[in-house]
């Protein structure tokens, strides 16, 4: 079966510092994949390779069986949407933000994506700066959905949110996956979130893959337990 993403001996180095070293792993099409690891383990760097915001120093990355570097980066980024750690809203209203993603979007389409992320259509005229962190992050997700992505990359997207907002975002994304078939790759170091979301798990330590495979296996638990121990240390 063709994988969603396939990393083969991927290295990333910045100014002689190694960020990822020899990463070889796959992200399946049909499972919500969580990339876990401590801060500085390279998980965000791995995610940023998936929509080509960064490129590897060496190695290859496949997207649905094709070399990712052969694809047009702009088209790829509309197919592979990304929600960042901190909600990034541009100036103006929510509508203005949506028009950045799709200048031709109708009000009807914009209301639909707001409903998809469990926000009232009245949010269209709200000023971005006045939204709470949770609302802003859902608007960011809705803005990404306007590009009709096949895959969502969630880069610690709930790190700055409180628990209720975190759960709402998790439910929204899970529903998008089950209802609309959107692939999801979620980066986090929150063990509770990994427990709730992961169907497939990649654990990184210091830029290397420590574990890759199913989420509920004894090996997966052992890899996560070692992360918890390192965090305590």
């Amino acid at each position: 079966m063709t994988q969603l993403f396939e990393f083969s001996d991927v290295h990333v180095a910045v100014e002689d510092a190694s960020i990822l070293s020899g990463v070889t792993t796959t992200i399946p099409v049909d499972k919500l994949t969580v990339i876990a690891g401590e801060s500085g383990s390279g998980k965000t760097s791995l995610l940023r390779l998936c929509n080509r915001l960064d490129v590897p120093t060496s190695g290859t990355i496949g997207f649905r069986g094709r070399d990712l570097l052969e694809l047009d980066p702009q088209q790829l980024r509309r197919r592979v949407g990304m929600v960042f750690q901190r909600p990034v809203l541009f100036g103006g209203t929510v509508r203005d933000n949506f028009l950045v993603a799709d200048p031709t979007a109708s009000d009807e389409t914009m209301c639909e994506v707001l409903t998809d992320v469990q926000l009232d259509p009245a949010f269209l005229d709200r000023i971005g700066d006045e939204l709470s962190g949770g609302e802003a992050q859902r608007v960011c997700l809705a803005r990404t959905l306007l590009c009709e992505p096949e895959v969502l990359l969630m880069d610690e997207a709930t790190a700055s949110l409180h628990q209720a907002a975190t759960r709402t975002l998790e439910e929204t994304v899970s529903r998008l996956r089950t209802d609309a078939g959107v692939g999801v790759v979620w980066v986090t170091h929150d063990l509770g979130q990994i427990e709730r979301l992961a169907e497939h798990l990649i654990v990184l330590t210091e830029g290397r893959v420590r574990y890759t495979g199913g989420a509920g296996t004894p090996e997966a638990r052992a890899a996560l337990a070692s992360l918890a121990t390192e965090a305590e240390d």
Partner: protein, 260 residues
């Protein structure tokens, strides 16, 4: 007849205000003393050297080619200054030199081609200096602001790239703001001409006994050429810097090291 002589006492008196600035810096702990002293000394040395060079260039029988060589040196030095102020922009030196050279060539072409001034060393060097000097300020601001805006607004720029925008589209709002900052001083000083200050060329011509209306027309021509030169060099270098700060595959280059 205007007496251009200034003795040591006159020069020392002109330093009083620099002394005031030093006192303010010390009392307010601004830590600008070193820079103030360095700028004062450096400006003096540069002006003295310039005086000797001009005297040499203005000697009777000296070819104007030497003046053009001097203008070329100014362009190269200005390009180097722009590069030093925004070293994170790759290829900025060459870009700035080409932009400054092109704008200087066009403006000087207009001035001498239409006979606003005769093509002599006493006109080539100071006019070249005016064009390059004014363009330098705008160009440095343009390159610096573009680099700063794209560094500070990196999350926003990358959010736009992640929505499938091209680097040109993603950088546009920040470049617009940078270009406004770069061009505003020149636009403001052009607007204030005559009301707040009388510019150098006009003052010089009036002091030399030229009819004030003629002096005003000459000044207007020079002012428009300066505004045009500043605007074009700033735009070329600003937009060129944006191109250099993105990769051809629409990624924002790493200007400062980011974590994880």
């Amino acid at each position: 007849m205007l007496e251009g002589d200034v003795d040591a006492i006159g020069l020392a008196t002109s330093l009083i205000l620099v002394g005031v600035a030093l006192a303010v810096s010390l009392s307010q702990q601004l830590r600008l003393e070193k820079q103030l002293i360095w700028a004062t000394v450096r400006a003096f040395v540069q002006l003295v050297v310039m005086g000797f060079v001009l005297a040499w260039l203005l000697e009777p029988g000296r070819g104007v080619a030497y003046s053009w060589v001097w203008v070329a040196c100014m362009v190269v030095f200005a390009g180097w200054t722009v590069h030093k102020r925004a070293p994170e922009v790759p290829g900025l030196f060459g870009m700035a030199v080409v932009a400054l050279a092109a704008s200087t060539l066009v403006t000087m072409g207009v001035i001498f081609g239409f006979g606003v001034f005769p093509m002599e060393a006493r006109a080539i060097v100071p006019l070249g200096g005016m064009m390059i000097g004014n363009s330098l300020s705008g160009t440095v601001l343009a390159a610096r602001r573009v680099a700063d805006e794209l560094t500070e607004k990196r999350p926003e720029v990358e959010a736009r790239l992640a929505l499938g925008h091209s680097s040109q589209q993603a950088g546009r709002p920040y470049v617009r703001s940078a270009m406004r900052t770069a061009l505003t001083p020149q636009i403001e000083s052009t607007k204030a001409v005559g009301l707040v200050f009388l510019p150098g060329a006009m003052t010089g011509l009036i002091l030399a006994g030229v009819d004030p209306v003629d002096a005003v027309l000459v000044q207007a021509a020079i002012m428009y050429l300066i505004l045009g030169a500043v605007a074009t060099t700033s735009l070329v270098v600003g937009l060129g810097s944006v191109r250099q700060l993105f990769t051809p595959d629409h990624r924002l280059r790493r200007l400062t090291r980011s974590s994880d």
